[in-house]
Amino acid sequence: MLDQGIGARVLRKEDDRHLHGRGQFVGDLAMKGLKEVAFRRSSLAHGRIRAVTKPAGTDSVIITADDLKNVNPIFADSSIPGFKASNYPALATGKVRFVGECLAACIADSRAEAEDLAESVEVDIEELPAVIDSLKARAPDAPLIHDDWADNLFLTTSVQGDIDSLVKTAPIKVTRELRTGRQCMHPMEGKGVLAYWDFQADQLVVYTSTQVPHMIRTGLSETLGLEQRKIRVIPPDVGGGFGYKCVLQPEEIVIAWLAMTTKRPHRWIEDRREHLTAGANSREHHYQITAYADEKGRLLGLDAEITVSVGAYSVWPFTACLEAAQAGGNLPGPYDFQVYRCKTFSVATNKPPFTPYRGVARPGVCFAIELMMDAIAREVGRDPMDVRAENLVKSTQMPYNNVTGKHYDSGDYPASLKQVAGLIDAPGIRARQKAPEADGRLIGVGFSTFTEQSAHGTKVFASWGIPVVPGYEQATVRLTPDGGLEIRAGIHTIGQGLETTLSQVAVHELGIDYDQVRVTLGDTASTPYSTGAYASRGMVMAGGAVSRASQELARRIRRIAAHLLQCKDEDIRFEGREIRAGGASLSFADIGRAWYLRPEQLPEDVNTMGMEVTEGYKPQVDTGVFTYASHAAVVAVDPETGIVEILDYAAVDDCGRMVNPMIVEGQVLGGTVQGVGTALFEESPYDQSGQPLASTLQDYTLPGASDLPWIKLGHIETLSPYSAHGIKGVGEGGAIAPPGAIVNAINDALKARGVEITQIPATPERILSAILAAESQQKGAAS
C-alpha cells in the first residue's frame, strides 16, 4: 500500500483545517459567561513575600495564595540518590524565586480588564540577592534559593572512568570551556487553558494546550485533590509544543481550581511577553571538558564537568534531573571510545524552571562534543571531517554499547557524514578557501553528527525514578458500521502530523482507504492512557500500538470475511482497499454491516470483542531506538562585523522506516531552523539581579526565512531491529546538530585569525569581540 500506507507522501489530514484557519485552539473556544484571567507576576527574581494585598472590593475577582490553601504544590521527586525536590506552589508562597512567578490570578470579562486588576494588586516583597550564574550558585557561600536546603544543588551525578591513566599517556590533550545560552521555546501558540464544570457529567473539563493530556489529568488530580474520574482533559489543536507543554503548569492548576470552585468557565492565554520572561526555561549549560586523543586524533577519553542552570523548581513529571542526566549520558555522542569521566551539577537558580526542550540536553552536548572533535582535529593538524569519520562508531560494530551503556541499535554513522559532505560539496569548499573571497568574507565548513535516543521507555525513565514512567502505549481502532476506521490514542498531535501518520500505519495493516480513517487524540474521556508526546516517541510508540491493534482487527475481519466468502481465513487478502479471496471481494462496509447491523450473518465462532480493538505496545528494548544524523554547514563570516551568513546547509538522517517522508522532512527542517536559532540568534540573558533582558521579540531574535539558505536533505533508511516496522523517532533530531555544525564552520572560517568561538548563540557581537581580542593580542605580541 505504498500509495497511502507506510512510506507514502500523503498530504496531512491536519492541514485542511489549519490552512483554512479553521483550527480550534484554546483561544478560539467560545463559551457563555467565560471569564478571562491575567496573572500578577513577580517583578523580582528572589525575595521574601511580606504581603500580596487585594484592593477593597476585589475579593472575589483576585485570587492569591491564601485562597488556594487546599491546593497542593507541584512536587516532582526523583529516586536518584541525593536528589532534592522542591515545592512549587501554583501561586507563590513564602518566597518568590524567579521573575514571572505567579502571585495572584485576576478575573474579568476581558483580558485587558483582568490586566487592569492585576496592576491594582499591591505586592510587598523583601528583595533577596539573586542567584543567576550557575557556577557562582554552586559556591558554598551562595544565597540559598530553597531555605531548607544546604546548597543550591538539585542533584550532582558522576561517572568515574579511569581518566588518570590517560592524563599521563595520551599524546594529545585538548581542554575547552563552553557555554550555551538560555532559551525560550517559542511555539507559535503559547500556553493556554480553559476550564469549566460539566454538570451533566459531574466533571471538571479542562481544555489545555498540552502535549501530555493524560498526565495533566493525573497531575491536576494530585494538586487539586479531585479524583481523576471527575476530571476530563481535552487537548484542542496545539500550535507547537517542543517540550514547553509537557509539564504541569501553575496556570493550569489555577484555572482548573477556579472552574472547580466557582463552577464557571475561566481561561488564561499566555502572551508573548509572559513567554519571554516566565518561560525562559531551557538549554543553558556550561561545560568544562578535556579530551584525550592519539596523534591522529583518535579519541581515547573524555573528562567533563557539566553544569545546568535548572532554574527555581523541579517540574512535574520530568523533574529537575532530566536535563543533566541526559547531558551526562549523551555527551559521548556517536563516538567510539572507552574512557569517560563526567560530573554533572543541576543547579537551582532564580530563573524559570527548566523544562525539556526539543532534543533535551542533546543540542548542548552535541555542540560540546562536536566542538571538541574539531578542536582535536586542529590540534593534530587534520581535516575535522576525517577525524570525525574515524572516531564514529562503524556499521560493523552495530549493535554497539557505548561508554555510558547506551545501546545503539543500527545504522551507518560514517555513511551519513559522507553523504552530507557530498551534499555541500566539501572538497569544493576546501578548494574555494584557498583564494580570498572578493567581498573579504571568510568561508568555513563545519560538521556535526549525533545520535538521538528515541522512544526510550520504561527502564530508562524508571532509573530516574520520576513521578510518571511510560509503559505500554495503547491505541484503539474501531471499524464503523459503514466501513470507516476510527483510531483513538492518548498521545497528542502538536504539529507533528500524527493524525496522518497513525492513519498511514492502519492503512498499511488493513489496506483500508486513507480517507476512510479518522483519528481522535488525547481526550482523556475517549482515549487510552498515554504519557503523551515527548522524547521522539509518538511514531514508534503510538505507531506500534496502532499497528498491533490494526493487526488484531485484521484477524477478526478475516474471520468474518472468510465466513461470508466461504473460504479459509488464510485465503483472505487485504487488497485494493477491499477484502478479497480468489475472485470474490467484500468492502469494509460489508464487514461493518455484518457485525453491527446484520449479526445473523456472523460465524458461530466470531470474536465477541467485535470490531473494536485496544492494544498496548512497546519496542523489544526499553533503551530506545537510535536515530542518527549528520549535518553540514557552510558559512561566510564578515570579519569586520562578525555577521555570519549560512551559505549552504545539509542534513542526512536515518530514522529507520519513514512512515511519511514528507513529514520526516518537515520535522528535520523545522528542527534545523530551531537549531539555527540556538546557534546564532536566540538567548534570554539576565542581569545580576535576575531581570530578564529579552522581554520582547526585538531583544530575543528568532531566525527568519531570510536568515536561512535552502536546506538540503538526504536520508538513509536502516530499520531498527527492535521496533514495529523498524521505525525510529525523528521529532527532535533536527534541533540537535545545527549549533555544532554552524559554530564549527565559523571556527573553520576564523582559524587563520586564531579565533575560536566557544559560546552560543554566536552573535555578531561575540564573534567580533573574539576577533578584536585576537587582534589586540597579536598587536601586543608584535610590539
Partner: protein, 274 residues
C-alpha cells in the same frame, strides 16, 4: 499584554486633529501606523487617555514639490517610498532606505512622520533626514513652525515637539544629478533595527557634503568636516576613520566602535569605490 483603556478619535481634518490633541493635553497621543506605538501600548509603557488617529488625513499624505525641494506629508508610509508611489527627491536614496526598514508588513503601515516623532536613534528615517539636511514643519494650536532635522532630535526617543504639536511635513532639499550617496547599516538580523548606520551624502553642485553615524545610543552624529574633506579629495584613504569615529563616540564599546567605523567606511565606499 493589553493596553490601558483609552478613547479613540479619528478626526476628519488636520485642524480637528490639532484641536483634539490640545484638548487632551499631555494625556492624548497621536497614532499613525502604530508600529512603534502599538507595542508600547500593549506593554503599557504608553498609557494615553486618548488616541488621535491621523493616518487617514489627506493633508498628511500629500507631496508638494518645487525646484529646490520636495515636501512629504508625515503620514506617508514607508511602502509609498519603497514602491516609488511618491516622488523621490534624492536620486533613489529615500527609496532605497525605505525598502530596508523592517519587514514589508511593518512598512505597509509605518509612516515617515511616526518614525521621526518616535525618534529611535537606530531608525532609518531619523538618520536619513539628518543626512539630507531636511526641515520639519510642525503644527500646534498656536501655529506652525519649522525645525531643522538636526535640531529636532534632542536625545534617544526625545524630540523638540511640544505637547499638542503634530509633525506635519518633511521638506527634503533635492539632490542634484551630480549628487551621490552611500548608506550602510549593520543589523544583527534582516529586518531588525540597526546596530550601526553609516551615511555619506555629497552634492558638489550644491556644495553639500555630510556624513552621519547612526544607531549609537544618542541622536545621529553629523561629521561635516570629515565629509567635506572626503568630498574634496574624492577618497577616504588618508583619513583614519576609526579614530574619527572614536572621537565622535567616546563611550562606545570596542564592538560598537568597529561596527560604526565599518558602516561609515562602507557607505563612503559606495560613493567612492576604491
Amino acid at each position: 499584554m493589553k493596553p490601558v483603556p483609552f478613547e479613540y478619535e479619528k478626526p476628519g481634518s488636520l485642524s480637528l486633529a490639532v484641536s483634539q490633541l490640545s484638548a487632551t493635553g499631555v494625556n492624548g497621543k497621536i497614532i499613525a501606523g502604530g508600529q512603534s506605538l502599538g507595542p508600547m501600548l500593549n506593554l503599557r509603557l504608553a498609557r494615553p487617555e486618548a488616541l488621535i488617529d491621523i493616518r487617514q488625513l489627506d493633508e498628511l499624505s500629500r507631496v508638494q514639490s518645487d525646484e529646490k525641494t520636495v515636501t512629504y506629508g508625515a503620514a506617508i508610509r514607508h511602502v509609498d517610498f519603497e514602491d516609488g508611489l511618491v516622488e523621490d527627491a534624492t536620486q533613489g536614496m529615500m527609496r532605497h532606505v525605505a525598502g530596508g526598514i523592517a519587514h514589508r508588513a511593518v512598512r505597509n503601515r509605518g509612516t515617515i512622520g511616526g518614525s521621526l516623532a518616535h525618534a529611535d536613534p537606530a531608525a532609518d528615517w531619523v538618520n536619513t533626514t539628518i543626512a539630507l539636511n531636511a526641515t520639519f514643519t510642525v503644527l500646534g494650536s498656536t501655529g506652525r513652525r519649522t525645525i531643522a532635522a538636526a535640531d529636532f532630535f534632542l536625545g534617544a526617543f526625545t524630540t523638540s515637539l511640544n505637547d499638542g504639536e503634530i509633525l506635519e511635513k518633511i521638506t527634503i532639499p533635492r539632490l542634484s544629478d551630480q549628487a551621490a550617496w552611500g548608506y550602510y547599516k549593520i543589523c544583527r538580523k534582516k529586518g531588525e533595527f540597526a546596530e550601526a548606520i553609516g551615511i555619506l551624502v555629497v552634492d558638489p553642485a550644491r556644495g553639500f557634503a555630510r556624513a552621519v553615524l547612526g544607531a549609537a545610543d544618542a541622536p545621529p552624529i553629523v561629521l561635516d568636516q570629515l565629509a567635506a574633506s572626503i568630498a574634496e579629495s574624492g577618497t577616504a584613504k588618508d583619513i583614519n576613520l576609526e579614530e574619527a569615529v572614536q572621537a565622535a563616540l567616546p563611550d562606545a564599546s570596542p564592538v560598537s566602535l568597529r561596527h560604526h567605523s565599518v558602516a561609515l567606511q562602507r557607505a563612503i565606499q559606495q560613493v567612492y569605490p576604491s
